[in-house]
Each structure stands twice: as C-alpha cells, then as structure tokens.
C-alpha cells in the first residue's frame, strides 16, 4: 500500500475545494492509497481497516450465501473508511478523469460519514488508531493465553449483531432540553395518566387550565397552576420528589450486562476477557451505521459525483467516458436493486420536491393529479432540504418517509415477481405490482435487520441469564442457535436461556387431487401458508442444549 502520487493528490485537493464550494462539509485531511490485488486480499477480511486485530477466521473462506449480510453487516470492499483522517483506496492504473469521478464519490461518502447523525459515535476518535492499539492488546494476550483468546473473540463476535447501537446513539444525541419544567411533564405524562387514571375529558380540562394559566404572567403561571394541584392532590409533591430521585434506567446491551453482572468475569483470573469484549463491542458499534445507511450513502455519493463531475472544468473532453462509467454505476437494472441508482434518484426527486415546495401540507393534501404535476412554489430550497435529509435519516426512515407513488411512477419502478413455470422448467420474472406500498414493503424487507433480543431481568434469576427474542414474524436460524448460546454461556459462566418462537407446522395450501390421465395441476398464484407458531425456550447448561415448549 502506498500513497497516491503528488500529481493525483493535487487533483484530489482540487476536488475538495469544489465540493466545499457546493456546501459539502468534511475535515480537510484525507489519505489516499493505491492498493494491489494482494493488499485487497489482506484488507477485505479486515473490512478494509488495515489495523484491525488478527483473528484466524479472517484466513478462512467463510461460508457465504443467503443471509451473509445479516452475519457480516459490514462491506468487505469499502472504497473509503470512516477514520480520521478518512482513508480511501484506488487502483493504480485509473486515468485522471476517472479518479476525479471517484474522488467526488469518495468525498460524498466522507461528507456523509461526518454529518449523518447515525455516525455520531464515530466522530470523536480515529478508529484506525484505536484499532491498532487494540490489535496490540490482543496480540499480547494471545502470547499469554494462547488459543483461549480466540475462543473469547469467537464468542464475543457471536453476539456482535445484538450490540446496543441505538442505545449508544440516544446517549450521544440526547433530546433537546424542554422549555417547560419537569414538574409539568411529570404531572401530565405520569401522574394524571398512570397514577390517577383520569379520563380523557378531565385530562383535556387540565390542559386547558394550564394553557389559560400560561396566557397570564408566564413566570408565575406554573406556581399558580400547581397551587391548585396541591390543593386537589396533596400527595403530588411527595410522589414527584420520589420520581426525581429515581435514577433513570440505563438499558444495557448484552455485552455491558455480562461485563457488569457475570460472576465468571468478575474473577481476577478472567479480567483479561473484559478487554477483548470491549474491543469486539466497539468494533461492532463502529460498523453498525454503514449498513443502515447503504442506500442513502451510495445515493448521496452518486448524486454528488454526478453533479460535481459535470461542473468540473478540468475534465473537459471526457464526458463520454464519464457517461459510460456513470451509467454502469447508476442505471436502474431491469430486475434487481441497485442502491446507487435508487438512492441517487431519491435525492434528485427530493431536491425537486424541495425546490417546488412539494414537501408541504398544502401539496400532500391535494389529490388532484394535474395540480400535483404542475405544483411549483419556486422555493428553490431543494439543496437545503436534501442536506437536511442526509444529516438526519437512515435507510429505513428515508425510504419509509419518502418513497411514494410519485417516485415509483416517475421512475417506472415495479416489484418483480419470480415464479416457476413447470411446463417449460423456467423461472419467469414478471411485473408483480406497481404500487408504491408494495415496492416499499419489498425494499424495507430486504434491509438489514438483526433479531430483537433482550435480557429479561424478571426471569433472570439464580444466576441464569434469560434472553427473550421479540418475535417479528421470522424465526431464528436454528442451526446457529447452539453455538451462539454456547458462547454466551462461556462468557456468562452460568446457564443461559433463550425464549423464541418457532414453527410447529406449516400447512401447504391444499393441492388438487390428481386425476389419472390428466396433467398434474399447475400451481396457482402463491398463497400464504398457514403457519402455527410456538413459543419455546432453549437452555444451554454445561455446553448441553435442551429445548422445551412453553
């Protein structure tokens, strides 16, 4: 791995200047490396982080196939990584004009990394630097503890998709302090609703009284309001004080809970395990936002490489070359999902919405197709609108909010179905639906989504760790349950239980009875199978797995 030459670096600096002028915001330092095939071989198992810790699985072919992104929620071939400074990787034989295009794309990503709030927890440190010191820690431990270090890494990685990413985000992005007092919140949100159980009309009356009160002198309002409350509910003040004293409950993820509560890890001789758990948890947290913003991130980068490239005077004469490469990247496939193409079209669509003022109650309410088509308030606020979106949304919120029928119709999108034609023994792809709701459903279902598994504190007793899988319509992959639980039991040092939901039986739609002499019945349109679900508890004790029905 070596740095790009001075000539190419100058091109990059020129790109940065143009990007800043257009409103992108990112730190001015960045590192660009030339990578060879050999470098990529070493980098890709380490998810392009050159300083990541060593682990034997990195040297082995890992079983791939369906579901691999649920297991490895990080892109093994990222061109740019979210470090400080950001590092990006290039082929050594790219022509200058192509480098310009890639530089703009990379800058789009860097801007996204450094501004999107889902990356908030990665902003305050350099991951590559910390990874290097972690790598040294693990290497040192390995020289002392031998293969047991690898077992711990393995078991810790086994739960790295359950890391408390959103908990971490909400700790870093606390809601803005409210203008009114906590006493008011407590009175309306908890006291009236949960303790007094007042009915709706009385509740509204109280709100009305509070609003009336505020119309007068604001400083005195609250006291005046609560003097009346005191008179009516003498117990209110005592309850309120008690409420304030209660510490806000912090939700711990599985790592944190094990670290804090495991008797096994509390032992002196097992302290070294804590540092490994810490490293694996931090690494998992670091990679979480990437996969949750894939479409936005690629769309944003593609939007900007296209916009900035075409306005760059240095590459005159290469428009055709650019068009060819760019089409390959951002064309919508006839069948398939291309995150670059989809994300970029979304951003163009939203920019237009912002420019024409379509993101407004006035427009959304209007169902007249002609009015909707010609609607234009000439606000010219599109750029600001998409900058705002890139800061605040993730793939799910982005698509769930903005992927509407106008977008689907405009881009000729549809859900493609695949069915078996038994007579000709071919898979037929067909246009299944052009409804935005179906398209949205299809794409949301293909987004990364780890199972929601939490510690059940009420059922965790006598040293047993009780995990509850909140069922969301999909069962867990059974083959992976034993080894994952084995790992948790090892780290926890005591029995572990997992409550989950499984299929008892599924009834295939009744097939028509066959009549001798006639051709076999062809399959009808797909029907939902009737599935019977059953709640079960797995118990891992002394490395033995048992299952019982609830």
């Amino acid at each position: 791995m070596e740095l790009i030459d001075q000539h190419t670096k100058r091109i990059m600096e020129g790109c940065k200047q143009r990007a800043w002028d257009q409103g992108l915001r990112f730190e001015d330092e960045s590192l660009e490396y030339i990578v060879t095939n050999r470098d990529l071989l070493e980098l890709s198992p380490k998810i392009m982080i050159p300083t990541l810790y060593d682990y034997w699985v990195h040297d082995v072919e890992v079983m791939k196939g369906k579901g691999k992104y649920e297991l490895y929620p990080s892109n093994p071939y990222e061109t740019v990584i979210n470090t400080r400074p950001a590092i990006s990787f290039y082929n050594d034989n790219n022509p200058d004009w192509l480098n310009v295009m890639i530089f703009y794309h990379v800058l789009g990503h860097i801007d996204f990394f450094q501004n999107n709030l889902y990356f908030r927890h990665t902003w305050d440190y350099d991951f590559a630097g910390e990874a290097l010191s972690d790598k040294r820690v693990i290497a040192k431990l390995r020289s002392e503890k031998g293969r047991w270090v690898d077992y711990v890494i393995e078991f810790a990685r086994g739960i790295d998709n359950l890391v408390g990413y959103f908990g971490e985000l909400s700790r870093l992005n606390p809601p803005p302090p409210l203008s009114h007092s906590k006493r008011v919140d407590y009175y309306f949100d908890i006291f009236l609703q949960q303790i007094k159980h007042v009915n709706t009309s009385n509740y509204i009356k109280e709100i009305e009284r509070f609003n009336q009160c505020q119309l007068g002198d604001e400083a005195l309002c609250e006291d005046a309001f609560f003097s009346e409350v005191d008179r009516r509910h003498p117990e209110f003040n005592a309850l309120y004080r008690k409420h304030i004293e209660k510490k806000p409950k912090v939700r711990l993820d599985l790592y944190q809970f094990i670290v804090e509560n495991s008797d096994f890890l509390a032992k002196e001789e097992n302290q070294w395990i804590l540092s490994i758990l810490h490293v694996i948890r931090k690494t998992a947290l670091f990679f979480q936002p990437q996969i949750r913003t894939k479409i936005m991130n690629e769309g944003w980068a593609s939007y900007w490489h296209e916009t900035l490239f075409l306005s760059d005077n240095r590459i005159n004469g290469h428009e055709v070359d650019f068009a060819r490469v760019n089409a390959g990247v951002t064309a919508m496939p006839r069948v398939g999902l291309n995150p670059y193409a989809l994300g970029m079209r979304m951003f163009y669509f939203l920019e237009e919405m912002g420019d024409k003022g379509k993101y407004s109650y006035d427009f959304q309410r209007n169902q007249d197709i002609r009015v909707r088509k010609d609607y234009d308030r000439k606000l010219n606020a599109g750029k600001a609108f998409i900058f705002d979106i890139r800061e605040n949304l993730s793939d799910f919120t982005f698509l769930n909010t903005f992927l509407d029928q106008d977008f689907v119709t405009k881009n000729d999108l549809f859900v493609a179905g695949k069915r078996l034609n038994e007579e000709r023994m071919v898979w037929e792809y067909y246009v299944k639906s052009r409804k935005a709701a179906d398209y949205r459903k299809m794409i949301l279902e293909s987004l990364y989504h780890p199972p929601h598994i939490e510690i059940d504190h009420t059922k965790s007793n006598n040293g047993v760790l009780y995990l509850t899988h909140h069922f969301e319509g999909k069962p867990l992959l059974k083959e992976f349950i034993p080894n994952t639980m084995l790992g948790i039991e090892f780290l926890w040092g005591a029995p572990v239980k997992l409550e989950t939901t499984e299929v008892v039986s599924r009834v295939a739609p009744p097939s028509r009875p066959s009549i001798p002499g006639l051709p076999a019945p062809t399959t009808d349109r797909p029907r939902k199978r009737e599935i019977k679900w059953q709640r079960v508890v797995y118990t891992m004790e002394d490395r033995q797995l048992t299952k019982e029905k609830l």
Binding site: L40, E61, G67, N411, F414, Y430, V431, N483, R529
Partner: protein, 465 residues
C-alpha cells in the same frame, strides 16, 4: 412410463400404505419424470434483463462499481499452507470441549473432462442469532425490484431452472467460485485419513504391489531374438546399402538390383520377449445414486458429498489407482460416463432400487471385472423403494456381495419419517445380510439435516473393517 408407474402405485395402494408414504409416492408420481440434460444449463446464455436480478442492495460495492475491481482472488499456494494449521486448531477445539468449526465445504467441482476433480474449501461459519434467511410466509420467493415498461402481470424475462438447483444440489455453484482452492482428490483423501482419522485400508496377508509385470514381444533387438521383424529388417538393409552406395541416384532412372545388397547380421531385427511394467487398477468403485423425485434437496447433497469423500479416500488408499463407475437409478438404472453427469442430473421419477443393483451386476459380469479388481459399491438413497419387500433388490444385493469387497448403503432419512424405518432399511435388516455378510455389507442411516462431521462419521461406518 408414467402409466406404468401409475399402475404400480395403484397396486401398492391396494396392498396398503401408510398415509405419509403414500403421499410421498404420489408426489414422486406426479412430479417431473425427466432427469433433464446432464450438461449443466449454465451454458445457456443468461437473459440480459436478468443479469443483475440476483444482486441485493448489499452486494454492490464501490470497488466493483466504480473501479471495476472484482473480488480479489486468493492463490492456491496461499491457502494450502493454512489447511493443516486449521485442522490442527480444530483438533484442539475438540479437546477443549467445543464443537469443531472447520468444514471442508463445497467439495465438488465436476469438470466435463476430469472426473475426480475435487475442490477443497476449508470453510467455517460464525454463528450468530439471525433471522432464518430461507423462511418465507409465502410460497413464492420474495420479489425483487424492477424498473422499466410492462403491465402488471406481464412476463419480462425468464431463466432456465438449473438442474443443480433441483437435483445435484450443486452446493455453492457460481458463488465464490474464484476463491476456491483446488486440490486433487488424493490430497483430500490424505486429509480425511490423517485429520479425520478415517481408518487405513488394511492389507490382508501380503503387501499389495501396485505394479505387476507382463512379458510381451515388444522390444526390438538386432542380431538375435525370438521373431524376425521383417519390416524393420528391410528398412535396416536399405539404410545400410544406401550408405554403401549400392542404392544411389533417382530410383526411377535406374532399376535397383536387390541381389547386390549386402546384409550384415546386425541388420536382422528381432522381436525379443521383455518384461513390461503394467499398472494394475486396484479398485473399481461403483457409485450408485438414487435420483428419484423424493431425493430432492438436502438428501442428494448429502449423498453426493459423501460419495466425493469416499472417492477421495479410496484414491489416497490406492495411490490414485481407482476407477470409478457411476450409476443412477429411479425406477430404472443407467450408467453415466463421468462425475459431472452423476452430479448434475436432477431428481425425478419413482424409485426401484433393484434396477441399480441389477445394472451393477450386469456390468461386472459382462466386463468380468470381478477377477481383476477390488470392487466397491456405494449406494446413496433416501430409503424409499416402491419395491416394498425388497423382493427383487435382495437377490441382486446378494449377488453383489459375492464379489464385492465392500458394499456401503447410505440411507438419508427425511425428517418427517424419522420415526419409522424406511423400506430399504427394513428389508435389508430383515434379510439378515447385515449379520451374515457383516464384513462386506454396511449400512449407515443419517438424518437429512446432518452436517459434515456426520457425513465423515458415516464414511467411517461404511468403510471400517
């Protein structure tokens, strides 16, 4: 064909069938009856509209999209170094009380030309709690995205159903192909023998020699010998006389007078009896696979994977001197020329085990293989047989047992029928052959969801002394 099957099915029905089995047989009967083309359908061009259909959102990455840089390929040399290390590590795992993690996944790379081309991919999985990716509430696969013209319901492209998706179960075809490490079957056999502690073949009595000698009149010798080689002798005489000047100039201008030729004793070329090294093929392995309709999916995968491993193990044991024959059967049996066909033909039709055994007997008889070879027969099936009592299969099996060194029957049980024994299991057990011919006949029954260690365990059962 189908009518005949229907007749047999009706007869079976009348004789009384348990409902589960009846349903299974009916499925076989109603299913496709055609095993397709042995050539993998990959050769048919892919519809360009569908080229990207299988790529998901997360399959795209910048290096490929922008820089046209495909996933890097690891070289064979890089990987071979690590396999011994990995297996060593795996042994230690077992010692420490954790399940083994290294699998020799995706082992078959059927080439059209070379049988026995085996690809060893040491692979592993990192288990986590994840949603079952194969689960779907609907019968049809989840839709993909699409764009462009077309009314709802309109078919926009089609793709042939690949045979290996249904039958051969080609695990991992087309994915990660570039990463694969190639090794010969011999290497895999070595790994199996050494690392997985499969038994070595015991030499019975005396050491087997890998070579034998035959004596034949192949060598040429001037001056003396058993038989005069007239053509070679004449050529030598002409050469000698050219150099003496007895034959000169253009033969067309002047007639040649052979009476003037001088003949030296050394010009007479004789054939002489000589010792010829002749490599003996020591083992002939018949791989027999049930490719009836009920074998769809995991069953076939297991059987084929096991057969590859057995083949590799025998290759190692017999120092590559293994010949193999491939027999497939549904209600009738046929021999296919190479592993590719054996591997790729998809499942269809009913089941008649005896047909396969009969074919093996025929081949052995007509080619009189029994004298020259150690014969092994390995048969993989799900245990279903329309010949419920084994009335035809057992006599044929007895015939095989008369000459074979080992017959190994692998029965892969369907999950749903695990409580009851399958037909093959039942009639083989009933025939007492497992006891009376315990040195030659072995049967191994495994579940449909068995993993690789179970497959290897199965091989141990089948081949142990």
């Amino acid at each position: 064909m189908k009518r005949e099957l229907q007749k047999r099915f009706d007869a079976l029905l009348q004789a009384g069938l348990d409902p589960q089995r009846a349903a299974r047989l009916r499925r076989e009967l109603m299913g496709p009856q055609d095993h397709g083309d042995p050539v993998p359908a990959q050769e048919t061009p892919v519809d360009p509209t569908l080229a990207l259909a299988d790529l998901g959102i997360y399959d795209y990455h910048d290096l490929l999209a922008l820089q046209d840089n495909p996933e890097p390929k690891a070289s064979y040399a890089n990987r071979i170094r690590s396999i011994d290390e990995l297996l060593e590590r795996d042994k230690l795992r077992a010692k420490d009380g954790f399940p083994r993690k290294i699998r020799l996944g995706r082992m078959i790379k059927p080439g059209k030309t070379g049988q026995g081309k085996v690809v060893v991919v040491p692979s592993t999985t990192e288990e986590k709690f994840i949603h079952d990716p194969n689960f779907s509430e609907e019968e049809e696969e989840q839709g993909a995205g699409g764009s462009g013209q077309g009314e709802e319901g309109e078919v926009i492209g089609e793709q042939p159903v690949r045979p290996e998706q249904q039958g051969g179960g080609g695990p991992g075809q087309g994915e990660g192909g570039e990463h694969e490490m190639e090794s010969s079957a011999y290497d895999l056999g070595k790994i199996l023998t050494e690392q997985f502690e499969l038994p070595n073949l015991k030499d019975k009595g005396k050491k087997r020699s890998l070579t034998r000698y035959t004596y034949d009149l192949t060598d040429k010798n001037p001056g003396f010998g058993q038989v005069l080689d007239k053509k070679a002798t004449l050529r030598r005489i002409v050469e000698t006389n050219i150099s003496l000047g007895n034959i000169a100039g253009q033969p067309a201008e002047r007639s040649i007078d052979p009476s003037t030729f001088l003949i030296s004793p050394q010009d007479k070329i004789y054939r002489i009896l000589s010792r010829e090294k002749d490599y003996e093929s020591q083992a002939m392995v018949f791989f027999v696979r049930d490719y009836s309709g009920s074998m769809a999916g995991k069953c076939t995968e297991l059987v084929v994977a096991q057969h590859v491993l057995i083949y590799s193990w025998l290759s190692y044991q017999y120092a590559n001197q293994v010949e193999s024959r491939f027999v497939l059967h549904d209600t009738s049996a046929k021999e296919v020329p190479d592993f590719a066909a054996y591997y790729n033909l998809k499942v269809a039709g009913g089941t008649q085990v005896s047909s396969a055994y009969r074919l093996v007997n025929e081949i052995v008889e007509t080619e009189s293989l029994a004298n020259d070879y150690n014969i092994y027969v390995f048969h993989g099936t799900d245990g279903d047989d329309w010949d419920t009592e084994g009335k035809e299969a057992i006599p044929e099996l007895k015939k095989i047992l008369a000459y074979a060194s080992r017959v190994g029957i692998t029965v892969v049980q369907h999950g749903s029928t695990s409580t009851t024994k399958s037909e093959v299991e039942r009639y083989v057990a009933k025939s007492d052959l497992l006891e009376s011919a315990s040195t030659t006949l072995r049967m191994d029954v495994m579940q449909e969801d068995s993993d690789e260690s179970r497959i290897i365990e199965g091989i141990r059962n089948l081949i142990s002394e």
